[in-house]
């Protein structure tokens, strides 16, 4: 490769000459292969990839035609090493040295893109060859990063060729210092270090301060965990900072600049040092720059990794060789900065923006961003998000766009929970605020800060109390320890948080935390102390329920705080089943004991073994290695294998009567436990059959009737009386129950009223309500669906309706859903099964009208949707695309868009307090309604939920009713828990060998659609032991 001769730049035309020379040299190459040599890609091996490319090119004598350029960060750090092929703009990802051959022989020599190395869309697997089309890049605005990843950061001439140093030349040639400051002011550039102070104003203060000499200081002490913007920028384009500093020096009247940079950034340090040397060699730093008489020099100072040295006064102390400790302001650095002299102290990113503003003009710059704040902002996107890396978007970009458009949301279908903005002393922003436009003011209002621009995404597996604890621990350990509130206050806050996360939380702890936090914010010396409580305050603000769960119920909903549970699966089970316990027993072949352990809490092991949404499996740690342990199937196995269900312990009757209204999972579970405790329990059911939704809404192919009935029968055998065809409000009332001597009532009537679409034509023949449809199918009613069936909705009811429709002989069943597939509430397994059975799906559509012919539904008008603003659920509200309506022919429509409660049984309005959504309000500890002695649980308090949640409420209610009636509230235990687990031998030290889960056989799809035979077949004896042995025994800590 030819070298541009080193010259001393004396004028604009020298810059032109360099550009011409570089362009001439570049024009000799057919291709440029830009290999990312950012620290991220280097760590994943990009240097070896570059070497391989060079070697292979050399071997083919292509070195003169194809140029390999090592660049700074291209951005998508999560998919490195990456290579960008120019001029084609094709980005290859996740490269290994051996891929060099394919790229050269395939792409370079034959113009064939190497598909396996290209980006693939996660949903449909389509390849996206061009970088600009990859969503991660498509939604960004790379102004500041325009050179990063495009130039060789060790060659100043490449920077010059892309108009580098034009701004300095312009400033020195034709602008007064005041002009420069004016330009910066009108660009609305604000401090990118986080506080957002207007840069132009800061400069003018420094310029007018009366002392000499003056200094420019660049803060490159990027210390936030998960922040790497400055590092990437410096590694990829060290020149913009240097040029920006020189311009700042000219503007404020300084001749010396310091760059304070972390010593932990060796690559950035080296590139910067090299760039400074080059600038000096080329006459762009030093004495009399470009003959203007202006002199400016830059010196680097290494920080030793103290987070607090990012605080400006601490940074100044550190530059002076003192302990990096903040001091009170005023005096501000603009007045008394380094060595006590006026100092313009700016963040790297702020200064790097300056050349662009001068070059392109303030108007252009302020065209990006908001009215108060111009330009773009870099963020480092990290955490539980699919695309991590360095990004740049205009200030004021919606948070949701950053996380979903660029970051593509959370991994593995996990729910997005919050995003921590502004580093450890920033705040957590929950999903209801995803629509916020990210700028200084709005973040502040939300209790977060811009900080330096770190965005750490957290999914549902993040415990917000633990996160608050983590960030506080960081802030405490990085506190300089000078001021009392920060040093001692953080310690006390941490102590409280540690207490909470280890189950020692006390009532009043939240309030104590808040008070302490507010006083620390109010009194601490520097920004670290004044913002350090943010994570705690913001998580309390948005996730107070999680704190309360820890303190009150000693439960960590996210399954993070280990002290609060024995195993993650148990913690995840709403009903609190001793999951690891029964798995251990199963692995030893002790099936009977396993079943009685399950039945200790859950009277429906067979039902749950089939249709449970198994939240336990999502938290199974085995899933991090290969697949989660098949807990549901294990449960199903024991419930079937143990021929006679072991008789549960039954206390002799205590003579106290309790009524349960509703025989769904919640009501029957409560009745089961109450009976075990000795209560004389009677269940009242409005329908002719017991079992509630389990009986009437879950099709047989998922839950055969006899399986359910056997478990109901077992409850009956305990002495529970079940009275069917007894409707509250018609056949009896609360008062009549109390009159009959019932001492307490558990109301568990569920939510079985289907929601309507609210569109024209819903009352036509051939339009079914989802639940009613399933009930009719279950009860064996005759239904004529016709050929073309459309199901509207995205939940289990919709899927079951679609599958049932197929089984009833419909030839074309399509599910219409108004969001994306990944937004569906039905489980992945359900959707996949439906697809296999021939159900089709159409996403982002909504019916707007159903047209009938002769009173029968015949056509449906639909609107095509696109994602709109983020709503308070953290999802994008779908909005119609103008002019994209379409019509489909239909024979019938099943509307399964959700259920609500039906409280028409209340004869006295206001007898029991309800919410505006029609659910009953209960005390969350006692489950008691506003009416004394009347308790409620299940869907009637939650809205439509899962069977296992209904069971959980039943357990809780039974305990609460026992307490209400003078008991201890303790469930009856039948197994020896402690001894049980100790008896199971397993090797604590054993290495985990990858072993996928044992799949349960399914009925082939072609057989399934023929009728309502159970689809899933369950484990064999061999399978079950093998599967149970996959358990990692997360509860092992109990033994240690």
């Amino acid at each position: 490769m030819r070298e541009v001769s080193e010259v001393i730049i004396r004028s604009e035309s020298d810059l032109d000459a360099v550009r011409a020379e570089v362009e001439a040299a570049d024009s000799g190459y057919r291709y440029k292969l830009l290999v990312c040599l950012g620290a991220g890609c280097i760590s994943s091996g990009s240097e070896a990839v570059r070497d391989a490319l060079l070697e292979e090119l050399g071997r083919r004598n292509l070195s003169e035609e194809i140029r390999v350029v090592g660049t700074g960060c291209i951005g998508c750090c999560g998919s490195g090493p990456v290579v960008l092929v120019q001029p084609d703009g094709v980005l290859y990802q996740g490269l290994k040295p051996e891929d060099a051959i394919d790229i050269i022989d395939g792409h370079i020599l034959n113009g064939v893109f190497i598909e396996r190395l290209l980006y693939k869309k996660p949903d449909d697997g389509d390849v996206v060859p061009l970088m600009k089309d990859i969503p991660f890049f498509k939604y960004q605005t790379k102004n500041l990063l325009r050179f990063c990843g495009q130039i060789d950061p060790t060659r100043i001439e490449e920077y010059i060729a892309l108009d580098g140093y034009r701004a300095l030349s312009k400033v020195l040639g034709s602008m007064t210092p005041e002009d420069v400051i004016e330009e910066i002011k009108s660009s609305k550039l604000r401090g990118r270090g986080g506080a957002g102070f207007p840069t132009g104003l800061k400069w003018s203060f420094t310029r007018t301060a009366k002392a000499e000499p003056k200094y420019v200081v660049a803060n490159a002490d990027e210390g936030d965990p998960g922040a790497f913007m400055d590092r990437c920028l410096l590694e990829g384009d060290p020149y913009s900072l240097i040029e920006g500093m020189a311009i700042a020096g000219y503007a404020i009247g300084a001749h010396k600049g310091y760059i304070y940079i972390r010593a932990e950034y060796p690559l950035a340090v080296n590139r910067l040092r090299q760039a400074i040397e080059q600038a000096k060699d080329w006459g762009l730093l030093g004495n009399d720059i470009m003959g203007s008489g202006f002199s400016f020099d830059i010196e680097m100072r290494m920080g030793a990794g103290a987070f607090v040295c990012g605080e400006e006064t601490a940074l100044l102390a550190s530059i002076e060789g003192k302990r990096g400790v903040p001091r009170p302001r005023p005096p501000f650095p603009a007045e008394k900065g380094v060595w006590g002299k006026p100092t313009a102290l700016n963040n790297v990113e702020t200064l790097a923006n300056v050349p662009m503003i001068i070059r392109e003009g303030a108007e252009w710059f302020s065209g990006f961003g908001t009215g108060k704040s111009g330009g773009t902002k870099m963020y480092s996107l990290a955490g539980d998000v699919k695309n991590t890396g360095l990004i740049e978007v205009p200030i004021g970009t919606e948070m949701g766009r950053i996380i979903y458009n660029i970051g593509r949301g959370c991994r593995e279908k996990k729910d997005f929970k919050a995003v921590q903005s502004g580093g450890p002393s920033g705040g957590c922003i929950p999903k209801e605020h995803l629509s916020v436009r990210v700028d200084y003011e709005t973040l502040d209002e939300l209790g977060a800060i811009m900080g330096s621009g770190g965005l750490v995404v957290m999914d549902e597996d993040t415990c917000m109390v633990d996160i608050a604890r983590y960030f506080l621990e960081f802030c405490l350990s990085e506190s300089c320890g000078k001021c009392t509130p920060c040093r001692e206050g953080f310690l006390r806050m941490l102590e409280i948080l540690e207490r909470i996360t280890t189950g020692e939380g006390k009532e009043g702890d939240i309030e104590r935390l808040e008070e302490l936090a507010h006083i620390i914010v109010d009194t601490a010396l520097c920004g670290l102390g004044r913002t350090g409580p943010n994570p705690v305050l913001s998580t309390i603000r948005y996730f107070r329920d999680e704190y309360e769960a820890h303190i009150k119920y000693k439960k960590c909903p996210a399954g993070v705080c280990e002290a609060l549970f024995d195993s993650p699966c148990q913690n995840a089970c709403p009903a609190g089943l001793d999951t690891h316990g029964y798995v251990a027993l199963i692995s030893e072949g002790r099936f009977g004991e396993a079943l009685s352990l399950i039945r200790e809490r859950n009277p429906f092991p067979s039902v749950c073994g089939r249709i449970c949404t198994h939240p336990c499996e999502f938290k199974c740690r085995r899933g991090e290695t290969d697949d989660p342990v098949a807990l549901r199937l294990l449960k199903r196995f024991v419930s079937e294998y143990v021929s006679a269900a072991p008789r549960s312990y039954q206390r002799s009757s205590n003579g106290v009567r309790v009524a349960v209204v509703g025989s769904g999972p919640s009501g029957l579970t409560a009745a089961y436990h109450l009976a075990m405790m000795g209560y004389e329990t009677t269940v009242f059911e409005a329908l002719p059959v017991a079992g509630g939704m389990m009986a009437v809404c879950i099709p047989d192919y998922r839950l055969p009737k006899d399986v359910l009935n056997a478990e109901i029968e077992a409850i009956h055998e305990l002495g529970v009386e079940i009275k069917t065809n007894q409707r509250l409000g018609e056949d009896f009332t609360f008062d009549s129950l109390f009159g009959q001597g019932f001492k307490a009532v558990y109301l568990a009537v569920g939510a079985q009223r289907s929601r309507a679409l609210g569109i024209q034509g819903e009352d036509l023949e051939g339009v079914y309500k989802g639940l009613r449809f399933l009930m009719d199918v279950n009860l064996g009613e005759k239904i004529e669906l016709g050929e073309k069936v459309v199901v509207i909705g995205g939940g289990s009811t919709a899927i079951d309706s679609a599958k049932s429709a197929i089984r009833l002989g419909a030839s074309e069943v399509t599910v219409y859903y108004r969001r994306e597939r990944e937004d569906m509430t039905a489980t992945d397994e359900e959707i996949t099964e439906a697809e296999n059975e021939g159900v089709r799906f159409r996403f982002m559509v909504v019916p707007t009208k159903i047209l009938g012919e002769g009173g029968k539904a015949a056509q449906m008008l639909c609107a095509q949707l696109r994602p709109g603003e983020f709503d308070s659920s953290g999802r994008r509200r779908p909005v119609p695309v103008e002019g994209q309506e379409f019509t489909v022919d239909i024979d019938s429509v099943i509307v399964a868009v959700g259920q609500t409660t039906d409280l028409s049984f209340f004869t006295n309005e206001g007898e029991v307090s309800t919410t505006k959504f029609g659910t009953i309000i209960v005390d969350e500890d006692t489950m008691e309604t506003s009416k004394t002695g009347v308790f409620a649980g299940g869907d009637v308090i939650r809205g439509p939920a899962t069977v296992v949640e209904a069971i959980a409420d039943g357990i809780k209610a039974a305990s609460a009713i026992d307490k209400f009636l003078g008991g201890s509230g303790k469930l009856v235990e039948v197994t020896r828990k402690k001894a049980r687990i100790d008896e199971i031998p397993f090797d604590l030290e054993a290495e985990i060998v990858e072993q996928r889960r044992v799949e349960a056989p399914l009925l082939p799809p072609e057989e399934r659609v023929l009728g309502f035979r159970e689809v899933e077949q369950g484990y064999t004896l061999n399978d079950v032991i093998e599967e149970a042995k996959r358990c990692l025994h997360c509860d092992r800590k109990l033994m240690e």
Partner: protein, 898 residues
């Protein structure tokens, strides 16, 4: 500074624009509690106890760090403020070892006071108390550091780093692990701590306490007496804390004008000798070679009658007296009056002869006044400070503190000229390491460059000086190259230093014994005066020639006429009008002939010309050169009276010993090195039967037939003022607080901060053409090493006081001969080896310390140790003009003792 109006707690108040809210509030009688704040330490804003609410500010702000602004509305006592403050105090209490029961700071603890003030109930703190149990560091003899009582306010660190520029204490670790550590987290005793005790004084809790005063008294039991430190010439204002007739603690007086509360290890910890069992408690009369206690009547009668008899037998000239630079002005005035009246001659001198006689002689010749031209704290304002022949950090630690502050905090540049690598070298821009005794050449070399570079102040020279041309012709010959040859200082360094000094706007010269204790002492001093005049650095603030006086009252003893040639106020005895004035005042005829100087007295005794000697508080048997000779001379005396607080080496040879009261037991005044007259106050009753010196003298005078009656030292000062123009305005009721700097001619005069403003005391400053002369005795084949003597930080003078101080004697228990590693290896000696040091006059045995501080070919011996008295070796060769002996240079050899 403009006046600023603001509102505090609803009151319209005014302050100055450079004030903080805390200061403005205080001035307006509004109290804001503080912990980390200390008026003389830099603002750190660490504790956050002083937070206040400022209208419009989003958060509370520390009042100690926030400047006032016009129209500001401040609330210091709102509910929000009180809650925050209370939380801060509670947070501190939560991790504090609450041992108030026996804590030394009980009753003097800011944390305790705040907890009480905020009505904090220890039974219902917001947090559980978690008493730290960090180990107590009691490694040092002086200071106990208990980190568990530390509230991390940072005062001690600021005191150590910013105030004393010592950097022994510092913060280590981060977050809640932050703590104060000494050195590299070593026990304090293993660090280079000088035990100035500044940390101890500023500590608001019991984290730093004084070891020797532990359990000696609760704060509320102690009586506080403000007085002046008895050690060096800085004249630090001290507070003595007394319980039951015993000094149990000493602190620097925060209002002290010279020290601003600072002290050094001696001043702070070296006070226990006052109550030492060795103190003389009764007069002693030697009978058959043994001392026997006597009554005052007996002793005074004997002394008076013996002096009378000697005077009658041998004539007036056979008697002489040595006054004392450690005694008060009043003692010295009375003493010299006694000698002049009762002995009838001017044979009175004192140890200033051994230190600053050349200063007085030289500066008088050049400027017309022998005193330090400027004030101590003016050093803070200098651009360049030139320290030559002064090991300031050890001899005048508090002055050294200002020099270091000037360098470290204010950007001043320091030039050090010293053969030894003294501590100040670390702060110097240029270090000139000249050969011992070559100062004239070095100074001439500097001036040669300054003139050559045209950096001299022609206007100043022309308008205010004389004899420049003759001087210039001499200096012209001292080119840097020639000077390099004489002094061994590289010519480049000479140029560098000269340009630095010549370019300064305000340059101060500081010197001490290294300049004066030579046979060329006066020439050396004249050269410093030449340098100051050449560059116009006299008669302005932060400039001048600043000799540092070694003892607390050398200046005063000289001022009050304890010199053979002058009455008080440097009024010559050979001036007739003056003599007549004193004759009239004292009512007796006086001799117009100057008397004997110190070494001349010794020689006279040796030659049998002197028969009777009255020594007040001096110890010539330790402090004078060639001690063997001194011993022989004193042996020949017929009658020796020593008046002292201890049975010193000299006292042991006396015929009569008179027990004197120490500085803590009497009233009076000291005059410090910067001409400041300050009060000495009685803190305890005189020990045993001891009496103030002036009272004893008056007793003898009366018995010799001259009635000197003073009701109190104040009366003595009245007489001094009436006869001494420069003390004309001095009166006790004017001396409370800052004291007064002479010249202070009348009662309305406010004293003089710096001399020679506008005009020299002798009208025109006189340049002197001074030629280099080599020392009297240079190393040779037999005695190949150059010996230089001096003091060290922990000890003082002949050691009578400091060697009886537990702390000081523990810190430095023995004499160590400092020798360069090169010489050491040649002589095959190592640290701790015993050596015999031999000069032409005698020999001593001492242990060795091998150190690069001392230049090759040279040894250094401190002269405090009687068991290895350095002055056995020194040369009594005298400067012809000032009669100072050449204590700084003589030739010795070392022999390794087996």
């Amino acid at each position: 500074m403009s006046e600023v109006e603001l509102t505090i707690d609803g009151r319209r108040v005014s302050g100055r624009s450079d004030q903080t809210i805390l200061e403005a509030a205080k001035e307006n009688g509004i109290r804001i509690p503080t912990l980390c704040h200390h008026p003389r330490l830099p603002i750190t804003g660490a504790c956050r106890v002083c937070v206040v609410e400022i209208e419009g500010a989003p958060r509370l702000e520390a009042s100690c760090a926030t400047p006032i602004r016009k129209g500001m509305i401040v609330r210091t006592d709102s509910e929000r403020v009180r809650r925050a403050r209370r939380m801060v105090v509670e947070l501190l209490l939560t991790r504090h070892k609450i041992h108030c029961l026996t804590c030394e700071s009980n009753g003097n603890c800011d944390l305790q006071d705040l907890a009480y003030e905020m009505e904090i109930d220890m039974d219902s703190l917001s947090f559980e108390i978690e008493e730290p149990d960090d180990p107590v560091d009691s490694s040092s003899p002086a200071i106990i550091r208990d980190p568990s009582k530390c509230i991390l306010c940072g005062r001690c660190v600021a005191a150590c780093q910013d105030e004393r520029v010592e950097h022994i204490l510092g913060f280590v670790e981060r977050g809640s692990d932050v703590r104060v550590a000494s050195g590299m987290s070593q026990p304090l005793f293993d660090t280079d701590c000088t035990y100035c005790g500044e940390c101890l004084q500023v500590c608001p809790t019991g984290a730093l306490i004084e070891k020797q005063s532990r359990f000696m008294g609760r704060w509320w039991e102690l009586e506080r007496v403000e007085t002046t430190c008895p050690y060096c010439g800085v004249g630090c204002a001290v507070e003595l804390y007394v319980k039951d007739g015993r000094i149990v603690k000493v602190r620097g007086a925060e209002g002290g004008v010279e020290n601003m509360g600072s002290l050094c290890v001696k001043g702070r910890f070296g006070y226990d000798w006052v109550n030492s069992p060795d103190r003389l408690t009764t007069p002693l009369i030697k009978r058959e070679g043994k001392f026997e206690p006597a009554t005052w009547e007996e002793a005074l009668d004997l002394v008076a009658s013996k002096f009378q008899k000697l005077k009658k037998v041998y004539g007036s000239s056979a008697l002489a007296g040595l006054a004392s630079a450690k005694c008060t002005n009043e003692d010295n005035y009375v003493f010299q009056k006694f000698v002049r009246v009762c002995f009838g001659n001017n044979n009175v001198d004192h140890c200033a002869r051994l230190c600053h006689a050349p200063t007085v002689a030289g500066l008088s010749k050049a400027f017309g006044s022998g005193a330090m031209t400027n004030s101590i704290r003016e050093l803070l304002g200098a651009d360049v400070i030139f320290v030559t022949g002064s090991n300031t950090t050890e001899n005048h630690p508090v002055i050294a503190m200002y020099i270091k502050q000037a360098v470290a905090e204010r950007g001043a540049r320091l030039i050090v000229a010293d053969p030894r690598k003294i501590d100040l070298v670390d702060y110097a821009t240029v270090w000139l390491r000249q050969r011992g005794g070559t100062d004239v050449a070095l100074l001439n070399g500097l001036m040669n460059v300054i003139i050559g570079e045209g950096m001299h102040d022609e206007e100043f020279i022309r308008s205010r000086c004389e004899n420049f041309e003759e001087f210039r012709r001499t200096v012209e010959r001292y080119t840097p190259d020639l000077v390099e040859e004489i002094t061994g200082v590289p010519a480049d360094k000479i140029r560098e230093a000269a340009i630095l000094f010549g370019g300064a706007e305000k340059a101060s010269i500081v010197f001490s014994m290294g300049i004066t204790q030579h046979i060329t002492g006066t020439d050396n001093v004249l050269s410093t005066a030449n340098l100051a005049m050449l560059t116009g650095n006299v008669g302005r603030e932060s400039t001048g020639v600043n000799p540092l006086r070694g003892q607390n009252n050398v200046q005063g003893a000289c001022d009050l006429g304890a010199l053979p040639n002058v009455y008080s106020g440097y009024q010559p005895v050979d001036d007739e009008a003056t003599r007549i004035k004193f004759e009239e005042a004292w009512g007796v005829p006086l001799s117009g002939e100057p008397g004997l100087t110190v070494v001349e007295m010794t020689n006279a005794a040796y030659n049998d010309d002197l028969k009777g000697l009255y020594v007040m508080g001096e110890n010539p048997l330790m402090s004078d050169p060639d001690l063997n000779h001194v011993r022989e001379a004193l042996d020949k005396l017929e009658f020796l009276v020593v008046q002292d607080i201890f049975l010193s080496e000299t006292a042991q040879m006396a015929d009569v010993v008179l027990p004197a009261a120490s500085f803590a037991e009497k009233d009076g005044t000291f005059t410090n090195t910067a001409r400041r007259i300050q009060r000495v106050r009685e803190a305890i009753e005189p020990i045993g039967e001891s009496r103030p010196d002036w009272e004893i003298i008056c007793g003898i005078a009366e018995r010799m037939g001259y009635r000197m009656v003073y009701g109190s030292p104040g009366d003595v000062m009245e007489e001094i003022a009436s006869l001494t123009p420069i003390y004309g305005g001095i009166h006790y009721n004017r001396l409370d607080g800052e004291g007064l700097q002479w010249p202070c001619p009348d009662r309305d005069h406010q004293g003089t901060k710096f001399l020679h403003e506008g005009r020299f005391a002798r009208r025109r400053g006189r340049f002197h053409a001074v030629e280099y002369k080599p020392p009297a005795e240079n190393p040779d084949e037999d005695y190949p090493l150059l010996l230089t003597t001096g003091r060290q930080l922990q000890h003082f003078h002949s050691g009578t006081m400091t060697r009886r101080s537990g702390v000081l004697d523990t810190l430095v228990p023995e004499c160590l001969v400092e020798i360069n590693p090169v010489d050491a290896s040649r002589l095959r000696v190592q640290d701790g080896d015993r050596v015999r040091v031999v000069s032409r006059r005698g020999e001593i045995i001492s242990n060795v310390k091998v150190t690069g501080r001392t230049p090759e070919g040279s040894v250094f011996i401190p002269f405090h140790f009687s068991e290895a008295a350095a002055n056995v070796l020194t040369n009594a060769a005298l400067d012809p003009l000032s009669k100072i002996p050449e204590l700084k240079v003589c030739a010795v050899r070392l022999e390794k003792e087996c």
